[in-house]
């Protein structure tokens, strides 16, 4: 394991060090005293693990292709932006546009997430991105979503809506699993409820088990939660909007 002390290190230098460590074969890199440095893990194609202690800056793991990043702290905005594959585990909250346009990989967040999370997530063949959020999500959650799966647990949010306004507007692919409280009126007309299948249950079981393991929840309790499944009404939400000039 390689440990890099990020205290007072400019992001560019820090990221160079991380890339150097990876290219010299490090399988596990620990970053300590991280304090707002951006772009950690961006564009890295490798299978290394990066552990972050502190608070990484925006666009962490953007375009990432393979690594596992575990953050002991909060994530900032645009975690996993357009990421292709890999795993991100955040022991805290994550900011706006988490998982924007991600096409593969997984993001586990213990706490809440900001606005526009999961926006434009997409899937292609065997690449199906998954996001598991322990807390609640802000406005525009899963907007324009085109593929992938998001589980929103809403833990500790009793009495308030776990999603904000304009949830899933323009959604035309993918699946949402959302637990209990939400304002029905917050949802866009492009989604509809659907029955959980055996496949869904298997999927939930597998990811909730990992969620519990990552964040130390009681597995039985988490697995016992009920979810409502949302799927797109169609894959062509705006197919009939136009007239030929």
């Amino acid at each position: 394991m390689v440990t890099i002390d990020a205290k007072g290190v400019y992001y560019k230098e820090l990221n160079e060090k991380v890339k150097e460590a990876i290219s010299s074969g490090a399988e596990h890199i620990e970053l300590i005293n991280v304090n707002g440095q951006r772009y950690i893990g961006d564009g890295i194609s490798a299978s290394a693990k990066i552990t972050i202690h502190g608070i990484p800056g925006n666009d962490m793991a953007a375009f990432m292709n393979g690594p596992t990043i575990e953050v002991f702290g909060n994530g900032q905005d645009a975690v996993g932006n357009t990421m292709n594959s890999g795993t991100i585990v955040i022991h805290g909250n994550a900011g706006d546009v988490t998982g924007y346009a991600m096409r593969g990989g997984e993001i586990f967040i213990k706490g809440n997430v900001g606005y526009r999370v999961g926006i434009h997530m997409k899937a292609y063949q065997d690449k199906v991105p998954v996001m598991v959020i322990g807390g609640k999500a802000g406005d525009f959650f899963a907007e324009y979503m085109a593929g992938g799966k998001i589980i929103l647990l809403g833990l500790g949010c009793e009495g308030e809506s776990v999603v904000g306004r304009y949830c899933a507007t323009g959604l035309h692919g993918g699946t949402l699993y959302i637990r209990n409280n939400f304002e029905e009126r917050y949802f866009g007309k492009e989604v509809q409820r659907d029955e959980l299948t055996m496949e869904d249950k298997e999927f939930l079981k597998s990811y909730l088990t990992r969620f519990s393991d990552y964040f130390g929840y009681d597995k039985q309790e988490i697995l016992g939660l009920d979810f409502i499944k949302f799927v797109p009404v169609g894959s062509r939400p705006y197919g009939n909007m136009y007239a030929k000039w």
Binding site: R38, G43, N58, N84, G239, K244
Partner: protein, 500 residues
């Protein structure tokens, strides 16, 4: 269904004395205009379906066909022109947003045609490019404020640059909006001439993986086909914020164009809509833009210039200043005549500003702020010929993007029906029967020929001005004079009136 009030747009005239009933027109029209009538044993044509793409006219071996404006006239009305009336009929019938292809075709003033180029007479003699070297090579990218030279060698580390043999690149057109053979044609032509094509927001097809040295990869709001390999493949990355044909709105590739190849290249399921939202949802400010620029630079180890492309809108100068300060290496500005595969008609025709003004305003602003060297300026969205390019360079552009002109080189006849997916020229279509009509060998040759021809003309115009390097013309507005322009227009363009 009730009666449609639509009237024909075009009239097809077949010269029976020339028609040999060979039925090439029947076979070539994807709109099924022509058909052989078994009873009458002759070819008949359905004018209602004709889009005036000229495919039949060009392929007819005896030149027996003509297509004309349908002569039907509405009652003369100074306010309600026929297009206004027809669009109301369509919308009353369908309730739909009017969708159009290619660029704004309204008769707005063409400022290129209101600027005239200078030439040397007696003083500062002109140069004959056939005899004397003429440098039009262009480098795009951030230039340092000063250069340090040590022992005759450049000491300053230059930021990444794109090297162009001609100051013309093929503008962003996605695989999906245009065909793979169109992409192949442009890629090969770019390689042959020494310039670049741009993937648009549609990914880079695997067949073109080898063309990275002549390719700019685009990252737009939908992030289609964007992954590490793609970013690594291109010579530069362009963040698309907007385009001239539809400033302020997103894009939408209908599911029927998402066949197996498009699906694989964009990495989305076959048949699903590819929706590019109006904004990038990670960019709501110049600061956010900076974040994406650097995120891409980090992901590609600062080896590639990052372009930011915007549409020419009212406050374009201030926006461009922000983009320069956000760390972009190149700003691409697309004027209000820029083309598109599909745009809402009203947006296409009434949003944005002419590129000539936008370019002049941006160049002026960046100079005033002392940051012109920090970015290169590429403009597009109306370039028709080499003199437009020379004028653009004199107004401050480093290079131009051509889209519509490039497609015309491939055969486009500007029928503006790209969005139907039935492009008879094999360009704006994914129908394999139509796509194969564009042989990339022929397409590449034609597109390359166009650039080669323009290259010669640019050299001749430069020589006429007594200038032997394009760099010396850049921003040299004294080489331009305006004609038929108001004081204000001259002021914005930063040029004197003809005769001054």
């Amino acid at each position: 269904m009730a009666l449609s009030y639509a009237v024909p747009n075009f009239l097809i005239e077949r010269d029976e004395s020339r028609c040999i009933d060979c039925q090439v027109c029947v076979r070539q029209c994807a709109n099924e205009v022509h058909k052989f009538d078994e009873d009458d044993e002759k070819i008949v044509s359905d004018t209602m379906k004709c889009v005036n793409c000229h495919r039949c006219v060009v392929l007819c071996p005896t030149k027996a066909l003509t297509v004309r404006e349908f002569p039907l006239e509405f009652k003369k009305n100074g306010h309600w022109k026929s297009d206004d009336i027809k669009s109301i009929y369509i919308q009353a019938e369908t309730g739909g947003v009017l969708l159009a292809g290619m660029g704004n075709d309204k008769p707005y003033p063409i400022y290129w045609d209101k600027m005239l180029i200078n030439a040397s007479q007696v003083t500062n003699p002109s140069i004959d490019p056939l005899r004397e070297p003429m440098e039009i090579k262009t480098f795009l990218g951030r230039k340092p404020a000063s250069l340090e030279i040590e022992n005759g060698k450049l000491k300053t580390k230059l930021p990444p640059q794109l090297e162009l043999e001609v100051p013309v690149m093929f503008s962003a057109m996605s695989f999906g909006s245009i065909s793979l053979n169109a992409h192949k044609s442009l890629a090969r032509a770019a390689r042959e001439v020494g310039t670049f094509f741009n993937t648009g927001e549609g990914g880079l097809h695997r067949d073109l993986a080898d063309f990275g040295d002549n390719c700019i990869v685009q990252v737009a709001s939908g992030r289609f086909g964007v992954h590490q390999e793609y970013l690594d493949a291109g010579s530069a990355i362009e963040i698309k914020i907007g385009q001239g044909a539809k400033p302020g709105i997103g894009g939408h590739l209908p599911g029927e164009k998402v066949g197996p190849e498009v699906s694989q290249t964009r990495m989305i399921p076959e048949g699903s809509d590819a929706i590019s939202p109006a904004p990038h949802h990670d960019i709501y400010s110049i600061e956010d833009l900076r974040q994406l620029i650097y995120s891409l630079k980090e992901a590609t180890n600062y080896k590639k210039p990052v372009f930011v492309k915007i549409a020419a809108v009212h406050n374009v100068a201030a926006i461009a200043s922000g983009i320069a300060r956000a760390g972009a290496d190149v700003i691409a500005i697309d004027g209000f005549r820029g083309g598109t595969g599909a745009a809402p008609l009203r947006t296409r025709d009434s949003v944005g500003i002419p590129i000539e003004f936008a370019l002049a305003a941006v160049d002026t602003r960046l100079r005033q702020e002392g940051i012109r060297n920090q970015v290169s300026l590429v403009i597009g969205g109306s370039i028709r010929n080499s003199s437009d390019i020379v004028k653009a360079v004199a107004l401050g552009a480093d290079a131009v993007y051509i889209g519509t002109a490039a497609l015309m080189a491939l055969g486009c006849h500007l029928c503006q029906k790209c969005y139907t997916g039935k492009c008879n020229w094999g360009i704006a279509t994914q129908d394999p029967r139509l796509v194969k009509r564009l042989n990339p060998e022929i397409g590449a040759r034609r597109a390359a020929n166009l650039l080669k021809a323009w290259k010669h003309e640019i050299k001749e115009l430069l020589g006429g001005m007594g200038i032997n390097a394009l760099e010396s013309l850049r921003g040299n507005r004294l080489m331009l004079r305006g004609i038929d322009l108001t004081e204000k227009e001259l002021e914005i363009l930063g040029i004197k009136a003809a005769g001054e």
